[in-house]
Assembly symmetry: C2
Homo-oligomer: 342 residues x 2
């Protein structure tokens, strides 16, 4: 099955490039409301499942034992920019677990924003593992390891108790075993398991509503949902889709991006979950797709529409700041969604 073109990149009025993708909108009972493209094809969800991977941290009692704040729980679900707040918060999370950055096994990379890079250069300092966009998640993993009383070394390995717990949480939420699914190594070195988009969407419908979950899990999902939507800056950072959209929609949706063009959303007021993948892996397209899905599924007031607008049709500007083009969703592709969602 060919995935349809969902996003076009315009230069002037001409289509310059095109992005294809797959979108699944599913309710907590597993009913597919909308399917665009091959929604049963397994996809590596990458960072989009961080909130599921953080469930053991809460359910085990570790989050309470370590006295993690909601902002820190949000960081445990984040792919952050490596801004000062993110870096400091990850450091404090490790301190609460009696650890420091040496314990992190996620690897190191530069912060996302040029001004944060500049600060490091001017201080003649290299980034450390705390700057890694996954450092909050990994701090959460380490906190869980310490609370479980298991070795922290090797916590990134697939057979380490922390990764086994994370995997079990994902399996529980998507309602299927990952034993026969493809497994890869993620950017931050933990395992990533391929899973069908429709199952992922159902999982996030349950994540948002608590439906079909036992009480401990229902509480944990609510706690993580609230932590993220009330601390959106921690989930990503300045100028980022997840932070800006969750900030503007004030609790109505939880969204999370994943590398290689993946995006998920929980929309509790509609009892829905969304999972999508841009076929070629482009984030500029997955963001536009998710904005189009949100616009189709929920009624937005004026302020909410205004906040979503730059993500719905991002402007392309050249090196002189001239408006040279736009990224836009293919309207016809998303039109059916509004009616289907009811």
């Amino acid at each position: 099955m060919e995935n349809p073109v969902l996003v076009e990149v315009l230069r002037g009025t001409a289509v310059e490039s095109r992005h294809r993708g797959t979108v699944a909108v599913v309710d907590a009972a597993g009913k597919t409301i909308t399917a665009i493209g091959d929604v049963s094809r397994p996809v590596f969800p990458r960072s989009a499942v961080k909130a599921l991977q953080a469930l053991p941290l809460v359910e085990s009692g570790a989050a309470d034992a370590l006295d993690l704040s909601p902002a820190e729980l949000a960081l445990a679900c984040s792919s952050h920019n490596g801004e000062e707040v993110h870096v400091n918060s990850a450091r404090v999370m490790l301190v609460k677990a009696g650890l420091d950055e040496e314990a992190l096994e996620c690897g190191t990379h530069w912060p996302k924003r040029m001004q944060d890079v500049a600060q490091l250069h001017r201080a003649d300092v290299c980034p450390c593992a705390l700057h890694n966009n996954c450092s909050g998640k990994h701090a959460g993993f380490l906190g869980l390891a310490r609370t479980l009383g298991v070795a922290t070394r090797g916590y990134i390995e697939p057979d380490h108790p922390v990764q086994m717990e994370a995997r079990a949480a994902m399996e529980g939420m998507i309602g299927m075993s990952l034993s026969d699914m493809a497994r890869g190594t993620d950017g931050c070195s933990i395992p990533t398991y391929a899973m069908p988009l429709d199952r992922l969407a159902q999982g996030f419908a349950c994540f948002g509503t608590g439906e079909g979950l036992d009480p401990i899990r229902a509480d944990a999902t609510a706690r993580l949902y609230d932590a993220c939507v009330e601390n959106p800056f921690m989930v990503a950072g300045t100028g980022r889709f997840c932070s800006q959209v969750m900030g503007a929609l004030a609790g109505r949706v939880f969204v999370k991006t994943g590398a290689e063009g993946v995006f998920i959303a929980s929309i509790p007021e509609k009892g829905l979950g969304v999972a999508l993948k841009c076929e070629d892996g482009a984030t500029r397209a997955s963001e536009t797709m998710m904005a189009a899905v949100i616009e189709a599924l929920i009624e937005l007031d004026e302020d909410e529409s205004k906040a979503l607008a730059p993500w719905l049709k991002p402007r392309l500007e050249n090196w002189n700041g001239i408006h040279v083009g736009d990224v836009r969703p293919v309207r016809e592709a998303f039109q059916g969604m509004r009616r289907a969602a009811g």
Copy 2:
């Protein structure tokens, strides 16, 4: 017509993302040797046509009047990294035209390599227009303007003599008028005209062989071809496909990348030109496609194969340097090319 998948991105052994594209291989007489996807669909060639846009600089006598070296001619065809050599060379080209960086209208952006960015930060200096990857091309445009005795201000405008000359050169080389074609504004603010890939390929077949060109143009194409293949570092820079591949193939091919997944090549020993576009605009895919095309069309010796190998199946490594996946061309898609090229 659906463009076929030409490149796959693997995580482990599983396909994570896929890139579709279009490839045209055409001879100087306009005969299409291989066509993959819709090769008649107009495409903004972006920087891939810089060598054609540089023809007036040479044909007008301006290159000689300004005493431009082959390295400087190569820079006039470049999308460079903004390394010290590139920046200094662009500066000298402007000096030769009696100008300085204030005359550049391309806009400014940071250099490509982190170490060059670091150097600016440590000196507490912002980049200037010389760092713009198109500064060499623009220095060429300015040199042409001065030699023609026209105003340099506004040289980026579509109706400025310099842009009219560049357009006429492109029209002559691809054998068609651009009057009815879509026009956009490029990243560096000059106009970009959409043109069919098969015509673009034919144009670069002529560029490489001189066939079908009047003596002045044939000389000019040879001069620019030689300048680029003998000064490959100037055309892009450290770690870049165009520089590494032209360096390794020592004159056998001229290649040039363009934004949004465009690539061209001239292969004189086969009398062929190549033009390709990754549908979604990804450079990681257009590079892999071009490597696959080169491998299919010419016999490579051991050293040449070794140099091309990392571009034919790029390794993906994560933040810990672990090999997590690969980018690879879809073999079946390129198989027919070897036989067709003869």
